[in-house]
C-alpha cells in the first residue's frame, strides 16, 4: 500500500493562489497519460500525494478513493473482494492514478458492453478554478439532484476542476470468462460482431487483429458455456494476458512505431475506412487503431464522413484531438469559464480555447 493522505486543503490553497495570480497550472498524476492531448505550459500541480481509499463497502458496490491513488492498488483492493472496475481502464504506465484515469476518461475493451469510465462515476469532490472544494453526485446508485457535473469530469482532462476524490460504481467479477477465436477478414468480423451483439449472450469484449476475431464472454458459468456452444470457434489460452495486452497497447501491432498511431472512434458497424495503413478493431468496431502516414486533415475527413472522430496517440500531427464545430466550441468555452474563470486549470490540454 502506498501512503494515504488527505491533501485537499494544500491543493485547494495552491489553486486559490494560482487563481489570484492567474498562474496556469499543469495538473499531474504519475504522468502515464502525458502523451495524450496538447502539452500544458504551467506550474506543475502534483496530485499523487493525495492518495488512499476513502470508503469501500463491497455490499454497496461503491468505492471512493482519492485521485492520487495508484490504479493498480485500487484494483487489488477490489480484486480481494471479487469486484472490479467494469470499464477496464488502460493504465499506460505502472503508476497510473485514479485521477488520471477519470480525467482522461479512457476505457478498455469492455467499454461497449459494460460502459465507459463516465458511466461508473457516481460522484466526486473537485477543486474548481477558484480554489473552492466542491462535491457533486454522491455514493448512491441514482442521484438526479443538481446538474451532473461529476460525470462531466470524466474526459475533461482536468480543465474544469482538480479531481480530489472519485466515487465509482464497482461490479462483481464474473464467475467464468472464456475467449473464443475465429478466422475472419476485417469486414467479416464487423458483420459477425454486429450479429452476435443482437443475441442475449454475455459478451464483454470483441477485438479483431490480423485475420482473427477474439470474442470474450464473461458471466454466469452456465451462460458462458451455452453461448460458447452456439458460437463455436477455438478457445484462447491465458486470455487474461491477451486482453491486458490489448488494453495496454502491448500487442505486437502497437510495437512497430515508425508511423503515427491514431485512435479512430466510430459507430461500431461502420465499414472499414479507405485509409492506407494498418488497422486493428476493438470495442466491437467502435474503436479502431490505425497506423498510417496519411495526412491528419485528410484522415479526419474520411473518419468524420463515417460518423466518427480521430485522436493522435503517437506522432506529431496537430491538433491532437479532432476539431469540433464553432458553436459547440463556444459553448464549451463558456462552460470552461464557468468552472475555471481565470483559465488556469490545464489550459490548452484539449483545445487551445479550453
Amino acid at each position: 500500500m502506498t501512503t494515504s493522505a488527505d491533501q485537499s486543503q494544500q491543493l485547494s490553497e495552491r489553486v486559490t493562489e494560482a487563481f489570484a495570480h492567474a498562474t496556469p497550472l499543469h495538473l499531474r498524476g504519475s504522468g502515464s497519460k502525458d502523451f495524450l492531448g496538447e502539452a500544458v505550459d504551467g506550474e506543475t500541480l502534483d496530485v499523487t500525494g493525495h492518495a488512499g481509499v476513502v470508503n469501500y463497502e463491497p455490499g454497496e458496490l461503491v468505492m471512493t478513493a482519492r485521485a492520487g491513488t495508484p490504479l493498480a492498488e485500487l484494483e487489488n483492493v477490489l480484486a480481494d473482494a471479487h469486484q472490479m472496475l467494469a470499464f477496464e481502464p488502460p493504465h499506460f504506465g505502472a503508476n497510473a492514478t485514479l485521477g488520471g484515469t477519470i480525467a482522461t476518461g479512457l476505457s478498455g475493451p469492455a467499454r461497449p458492453f459494460a460502459g465507459a469510465a463516465r458511466d461508473f462515476v457516481l460522484g466526486c469532490r473537485i477543486i474548481n478554478g477558484q480554489g473552492q472544494i466542491l462535491r457533486f453526485g454522491g455514493e448512491v446508485m441514482k442521484n438526479v439532484a443538481g446538474y451532473d457535473l461529476s460525470r462531466l469530469m470524466a474526459g475533461a482532462y482536468g480543465t474544469l476542476g482538480v479531481l480530489l476524490d472519485v466515487s465509482l460504481k464497482v461490479l462483481p467479477v464474473a464467475r467464468t470468462q472464456i475467449t473464443r477465436v475465429f478466422e475472419h477478414s476485417a469486414a467479416q468480423a464487423l458483420q459477425q460482431i454486429s450479429d452476435w451483439q443482437r443475441k442475449p449472450w454475455p459478451i464483454t469484449a470483441a477485438y479483431w487483429e490480423d485475420g482473427k476475431t477474439y470474442l470474450r464472454l464473461a458471466g454466469a458459468t452456465s451462460s458462458v458455456d451455452s453461448a460458447c456452444e452456439k458460437l463455436g470457434g477455438e478457445t484462447l489460452d491465458d486470455d487474461t494476458t491477451f486482453w491486458r495486452a490489448v488494453r495496454e497497447h502491448e500487442r505486437p501491432f502497437f510495437a512497430s512505431d515508425d508511423r503515427p498511431l491514431w485512435r479512430v472512434s466510430l459507430p461500431p458497424a461502420a465499414a472499414m475506412l479507405d485509409i492506407d495503413g494498418d488497422c486493428v478493431i476493438d470495442w466491437g468496431g467502435a474503436q479502431r487503431w490505425v497506423q498510417t502516414d496519411m495526412e491528419a486533415v485528410a484522415l479526419r475527413r474520411v473518419v468524420k464522413e463515417a460518423g466518427g472522430h480521430a485522436t493522435v496517440y503517437r506522432g506529431d500531427a496537430q491538433p491532437r484531438f479532432h476539431p469540433i464545430g464553432e458553436s459547440i466550441l463556444a459553448l464549451q468555452q463558456r462552460l470552461k469559464k464557468s468552472m475555471d474563470p481565470a483559465g488556469i486549470l490545464n489550459p490548452g490540454r484539449i483545445y487551445p480555447e479550453l
Binding site: 458496490l61 463516465r118 457533486f136 441514482k142 443538481g146 457535473l149 458455456d225 472522430h309 462552460l335
Partner: protein
Amino acid sequence: MADTAIADAAEQVLASRPDKAQLIDKLVAKLPEHVVLHAEEDLRPFECDGLSAYRKLPMIVVLPETIEQVQIAMQVCYANDVAVVARGAGTGLSGGALPMENGVLLSLAKFKQILDIDTANRRATVQPGVRNLAISEAVSDLGLYYAPDPSSQIACSIGGNVAENSGGVHCLKYGLTTHNIIELEIVTVEGERMTIGSEALDTPGYDLLALMTGSEGLLGVIVQVVVKLLPKPERAQVVLAAFDDVRKAGDAVAAIIQAGIVPAGLEMLDNPAIVATEEFVHADYPTDAAAILLCEVDGTHAEVDEHIADVREVVEREGATEVRVSRDDAERAIFWAGRKAAFPAMGRISPDYYCMDGTIPRKALADVLIGIGELSKKYGQRVANVFHAGDGNLHPLILYDANIEGELERTEEFGGAICELCLEHGGTITGEHGVGVEKIDQMCVQFPPDELTQFHAVKQAFDSKGLLNPGKAVPTLHRCAEFGAMHVHNGELPFPELERL
C-alpha cells in the same frame, strides 16, 4: 461569479410581466396560427404535470410540429425575454414542467415519430414525444428493447426521460437514461440547433451528453434522441421472499448484491404497501409479512437457473419466512402486479398521496425505513413504502387528504423531513424524479452555497438570460437563506400566504 447577479436575473424573469397579446402576434407572425394556443380552455390541459398538487395556467402554449418551429418559438421568446418551460408527456412527478403564468409552455407532444431503427448499430433515432414503451414495442420483433423503464413508461416520453435522467425497475443492471443514450439534438435558448454527443461511443471535447441528461429543461430543449437498444434476454424469473422484520429484508438486499449477483430488478414493499396492493390486485402477497422482496434475474436460460438458485439460498439464509419462485411468465406478471399497482392502490385507500424519491446507501435501508415510521407517528400520517431496493431508491408514499385544511402543507413538510433523513444517511433527495419545484428547498440542505453557485454559473454558460425553466431544479442562494430562516422555526412558515416558488 456573482450569485446576486444570477439571482437578480432569475428573479427578474420570474417577476416579469410580458404583454400577452403582443407576444401572440409575434409568434403567429412566424408560426402557423394553430400551433400557438392562448384561449383559457386550450391552456387548461397544460396547467400541471404528474405533480398535480401544483397548478398554474401558462400564458401561452406553443405546440410546434417541426424542429424549425421550435427554433422560431425559442428565437421569439429569446428576443422578448420570455421564459420557456418545455414539456413532454407531462408525467413528471416533481413539477419540472409546471408552467409559468408569465411564460410560454413549449409542448413537444407532436414529436411522436420513430425516425430510424439501426439494427447493425443497435440504436434508434426518435423524436422527443415518443413514449418510452413505444420504442421497445417498435423493436421487439428484432429481438431488441430499450432498457430504462420508468413505471410511467406507457405514457412518459423519451424527451422527458432525458431531461429527468429517468430510471426504473431495471436500472441496477442496465443503468439510467444517461447510460442508454448516444446522441441528442437540442435547440438552445437562442434558437440554435446543436448536436450533443455523436454517432460514435464518445465525442471530442466535454461530455455534454452527461451534462444535458437530467438537467430538467434548464440548459436546452431536446428535439431528437438516439437511444441504445439491447438484445432482449431469453428469460426473466422472479423470486418473491417474505420477511417478518424489515431489517432482515434490508440486510437480504445487501446480501444478494454481495453474493455477486446483479439482479435485473430488486424491489421491496413494506407491510402497508403489501396490504394496500393485495386488496387492490390480489397478487396473493403474504399480508402478514413485514416486508417482501421481489428479485428478478434475467439472461440466458442457464444463467437464470443458476442465479435463481443463488438468490433462493441467500434469502433463506437471511431468514425469509417464505420464498416463491415464478414458474412462468404469467406467474411472474402476477408477482409484479402488486408492485406495479402500488400507486393506484394508494389511491383507493387515501384521497391523495405524495410520492417521495430519496436514494440512500443500501446498508441504511432498514434504518431509514424505521426512521420514516417514526416520522409517520410524529406527523400523524400514514406512509406506505415501495423501494427500488437494489439501487437504494425509496418511494415512500405519504397518504393525505387535500380537502383537510393544512394536510397538504403538513405532508410537504413530512416529505421534506424524509429528504433530510436520506441526506443524514449519506443519500440524496432525489434518485430519479428530479428536483423540479417540489424538492427545490431541500436542495439547500443537500448542497452548500458554493456548489449551488457553481450550478448557476454552469446554467449561465447555456442560458445567460435565465429563460429556460426558471425557478426549478437549482434554488438561488436568496431562496435558500429564506428557507434556512424558515427552517429553524420548526417548519412554521413566517409568511404562509407567500408563494414559495
